[in-house]
Symmetry: C5
Subunit: 362 residues, 5 copies
């Protein structure tokens, strides 16, 4: 009976590009997998002294600038309702190419500067409660007094930023929308580091498995982790370039003081890229380890076979000789014939043992 593998390969989550074929650029086509879920808007408005949150159902307020130097954080959760996104977008003054990218959950990280806003697509990577890696699409828009955040689900990632806004004394209340934008970006990048800690941990676990009790599923676990790391690289590694461009941008939307903080984020993105590179190499060398282990185990199997067969096949031959039925076999009637044969066998046995001992196979 063929052994059923215990390990299941996840199905290919092939993107669904086919949907956009033949459509004009700027057509808003949701490419995610959470269709039918509504769109929900949260608005957080604050200045140095006051802060208020609400869930507006009417989006008209987006047409006007926030009052009196207040900063607004608009959180749009759920991207499958193309018409709602379209309405929000047009009120906030975003063109159709931007809106297309917002609902395109397959979109690679990108950063576009427009005259009156900066548009960025990132991937949130974070650990959920079950310590699984979750990857979500997120789009950020920075205008002069507002940050719009478009997500598929409300992720925990930005909870810390909200907490810092709620604390009156935080730096975030003293500064404008560009600092909020930076703080969100910083939160995203910090989570990348945490996710990479998990993959590193798993690499160590797999290394232990390879060393102590590898089985035929092990290469598939290695392969899955390798694909996981590759997928992270695909989402995370473009971020370095984008942060760099943001830092060197001369957009008036980003104040000089905020740029200093961006340098900190940039440092982290360098670290992330180093780590990803090293983890990839580790995964490759794990496979080498595994193969050397398989070969070693094969060697051990072969040694047992060789020792058993090489010892007992000659002995059986000797026994076979004296099992022949020739009429005239003088040894058979010797007084100590039987004992002599035993002696020959024992000597052969010991001789072969010594031979294998010297070979280092015992």
């Amino acid at each position: 009976m063929v052994k059923k593998p215990k390990f299941r390969i996840p199905n290919a989550k092939v993107p669904r590009r086919g949907r956009t074929l033949g459509k004009a650029p700027g057509t808003i086509t949701y490419l995610g997998e959470r269709e039918g879920e509504g769109t929900q808007v949260e608005k957080l408005s604050y200045d140095l002294k006051t802060m208020e949150g609400e869930e507006p159902t009417n989006y008209q307020f987006l047409k006007n600038k926030p009052a009196n130097d207040r900063t607004e954080w608009i959180n749009v959760i759920g991207l499958s309702d193309e018409s709602a996104i379209s309405e929000i977008g047009s009120l906030a003054g975003l063109n159709n190419l931007v809106l297309e990218d917002i609902v395109n959950t397959q979109q690679r990280p990108k950063l576009d500067e427009y005259e009156d806003h900066i548009f960025a697509v990132f991937k949130m990577c974070y650990l959920n409660e079950a310590r699984k890696i979750v990857k979500e699409h997120v789009a950020l828009v920075l205008t002069s007094q507002r940050v719009l955040v478009f997500q598929e689900v409300e992720a925990d990632v930005f909870g810390g930023v909200r907490g810092r806004i709620e604390q009156k004394w935080g730096k975030i209340r003293q500064r404008g929308a560009d600092y909020l934008f930076f703080a969100l970006l910083d939160a995203l990048v910090d989570n990348y580091l945490v996710v990479l800690e998990l993959t590193e941990e798993r690499l160590y676990e797999l290394e232990n498995t390879v060393f102590q009790k590898p089985d035929s599923d092990t290469p598939f676990h290695i392969q899955q982790l390798r694909k996981e790391i590759n997928a992270l690289r695909r989402w995370i590694s473009p971020v370095r370039e984008l942060v760099n461009r943001l830092m060197e941008s001369d957009s008036p939307l980003i104040q000089k003081e905020t740029r200093i903080f961006l340098r900190d984020v940039l440092d982290h993105t360098f670290e992330i890229n180093d780590t990803l590179q090293i983890q990839r190499e580790m995964a490759v060398s794990l496979m080498d380890m595994y193969m050397s282990n398989v070969s070693n185990r094969m060697n051990e199997v072969m040694k047992v076979l060789t020792i058993m067969a090489s010892i007992f096949i000659p002995l059986t031959f000797i026994a076979g000789i004296y099992g022949m039925n020739f009429q005239d076999m003088p040894e058979l009637s010797w007084e100590y014939g039987y004992e002599t044969v035993w002696g020959v066998m024992v000597v052969t046995f010991i001789g072969l043992l010594i031979f294998f001992k010297r070979k280092g196979w015992l």
Copy 2:
């Protein structure tokens, strides 16, 4: 009997460069494989209000500019008739080097800017009805009010663009030839993404095969997919550079508003290059997987052999001993001699089973 492989390697489709040897540059030499098929011209002419299509047999109209700000899309299907191509080319004001590239179906993607036209060679990659990947040569020429498209066969790829022209309200009717050129390019690139989805799907299928029921044909399937991905890379990856050059070109033929749309295409080309890179790595690691699987199966085969041989060869030896015909073998006449030997054999048998169990081979 030697097993016939079920899998057939496609023959090398070696290009036929030899034909051009010794010819002067600018000699129009068809290098494709569809000789003897005629050349057919379609003309689609539109402005904001009207649209008309025809199949002119006389190409003289190419000498004049389209009337009244109309935009013309000239589709030339079939490249093997060198004289027809030559006539169309000279009427449209294309020099011989351009015409040589148009009929050279081996031509690498390229983009040349001339004073009054932009010439580009791309490769169409799309899925036909049978979901096979089709690769076709296509040459585009953009002049001030016209786009000429040279293809070997009429491919479905540009059907969506035609559909958008037919819809009066589309953006495409409001804009000039440069937008048409961009729309065709966008259609090409969108199809690349769909093709790459297919190769990704196949990679996942092969991964399942490697994991669940690999056979000796599997490495060849992996190899064929690897070659397919390499071929795609050869045709597709230069496109990024060309789109970038187009975006940064200061040719008056491309209006500023169209450039914004090109950035979108550029984004896609980045994604395509990422995907190709990752797919190549996946194909390589599939081969590693397969090899580790072969080694594991070999290990299992060896274990069975070793266990069977190591158990029964010593037992056969014991039986051989008492098959000897010595006159004086006291054990033979013991009362429970036979039963004692059976006992020794059973103990040996169980001892070896325990040994293999501890080795983890059972």
Copy 3:
């Protein structure tokens, strides 16, 4: 008896750099292998109306400019006669460093611009009548009205260019020495493409061999092709850079119109580099294929052994039992003892067959 390998490794054609040790730079030292062959000069002189060829024995004409806007193509065949080369060189105004490179058949492709001439070293690669790849050293010198070509043997490669000169109406007759220089370069590069077609064909043949009837010589054939491709890369890949430099050169020796044609050559060099890169990867993966095939065949061998041994060793053990000579073995005198043992053996046999069938080894 040890099997003699059918395949012979070509001897290392180690260059003979040792000869130049301790010599001053600019010393003219022939490094090729065709010593003792004389030097022969051909002169082809043409303008728009007339063309004449001769084999001058006196080289004094090189001191003067060709008359009346005529273009001269001087073909120097045979480089081993250092004094003749030295005389030709000094009459044509070439310095000693240039002459050293002309006779150094090991020289890497290079391009040097001087005030009144351009000097280039290339490698001709072409297929001879037996479809073998031939690599020859060639040096080109472009002066204002002359092209000097230095070769070891007269190769077929430039035959097409000569043919085009003979035809009065060709573009080549209308243009100057720079166009002749370009035409020769174009002929060289076209031949590279033909040579690469051959290596691609061979890769396909080897792939078929690996798949259908690999033997122990196959890795050496792969290795030889790999070395062939590497050698081509060594000679061909620097050409791209040189053509690029030529295109961007502001030497007055190259007219603006000729530069447009150079772009065509440059395109080809890009294609050549792509092809070389892909062929190298193919050769590497062929080796992977071969190794996986070897492992698979080993697996098959092991399975046959395991099945045969695992079935017959236990059966032989059973037979051995009843070959023992104990006085009291009750089974021996049972009425159907012999038939029962046969029954046990058949059941064991069938049981093991079913086991191996389930393993998928039959």
Copy 4:
């Protein structure tokens, strides 16, 4: 019984990034593993004539510039006391982002120039008394007359610099804080070279092991060394870029004469990167060596098995023939039947020996 591996894989020392999640940038969060150890400050103050060391408990002196062109070296040992670091930092005029990096022991090497100070993070790598590689985080701050050094433990690395200060005639007493900064950097880099000597030595030891007595632990030793080299690369290789930036910096804090010395350090960083690169390749090829060795040993095992089995199985068969009990076996009653069979066996034996000898297996 499963053999217990003698070799233990070190546990993953996974960084603890999780701690910083949700905190504002500039929050001082110690990320090291030496919590609860206090912070200790040493102050070394010198000019050309005098030198004095003390351990101040009050850090107020940091607010003022050192007197009379004296240079101060402030050594801060122990980073876990976040409030002490914070106090020192604010007295010395360092902003919070700098302080965050000082206590972030996971921080990648970095260099930031501010108007009145230069801040750098490096990794000390040195050998302790037991010749183990120790990696420690160190942060350096250069102000106009002071160098602040932040370490987790007091390492031996800077002992040499202190020694040179104590010697009155050293160059270090004649020059300012920038030379001290350079001398500390030089000491760090010199230690990298010593550490790399150790890894090179270990590579040679492992090569000897692979060659002379490899066991199944060897690949894990190779893998551990590979990870060690990778970790060093992660810490050391960014230093080249930082030193280069320092050299090209136009900060007034670094005098022109000191820059000349920096070139020396830069040279060393180049050498370090070369060495790391070569060591990485060596580690990879060691694994290849090991695998080829495993295959060779397997080959030897198989040869012994094949020779023993191929010789004695046919002989046993011959003996088996004449062990049959047919009533009518004429050979059994031949006069020299038994001797003839022995003869046949000896001939077979010798024949097979010759066969294996010719194969080269003996």
Copy 5:
């Protein structure tokens, strides 16, 4: 008995960086292995008409410029006497950092330009009489009329240059110290090419070994050659960059005419880097070859075992059947029972031979 490997791994020649730890930069510390050997100075002074050589014991002459446009070549042999080097250095106006590099035999190739001299460190690689590769440290200093050469031993490499000086008519007598400097550099680089010819030859020899009679030492020979090539790369490959810098330097010490000659050296350095790259790839693929060969030989071993065992084990089983002692075995008393069994055995034998023949294993 364990076979003693015939091949000995050379001991690690680990550099002795530890010696410089804690020393101030500019401390002159000899790092070579030839301690205790004295320092010897040779002086060669020439102009167009005269040439004289001497071995001065007093170095005071270094303080003054050579008289009357004479050029001086000062050869310093033996670097272990730190005080002598120090004296020579200070007389010749070299600073301590330069002197440190001169006696640091581990120093990577480097080139530093100072106002009145150019300092360069190279590695001589040449073949000694026994055709072994010798690597020596050499430092060159070019001042306006002098070239100082610092070596550990007097190497043959510069013999050719000396020969050319002795010949009155050579170009070298007509030109200044910069041409001498260039000629020495040219001699160094020419020797690299000769050394690389040797490694290429060895690669070919190893390829033949791998193909015709590989043994278990072969991978170690490959590995040693690989390390040799890597070591050469470490010493040689930086030279290209240095020569390039020299060529583009605007130091008044190097005349314009000499720069033309440097281009020739630069060409050679390009060739050297190409060759090193190709040799590295060849060494890697040799290892692949070897492994495929090992697998093939294993396959052959297994086939012999399988054929022998698969043929004789079933036959032995048949013989075993009729060796059983059942009272009632009708076949035993058949008239042609024995002959029938022989018939069955022969048929089985031939059947299995045909089976293996069809498998292609015979």
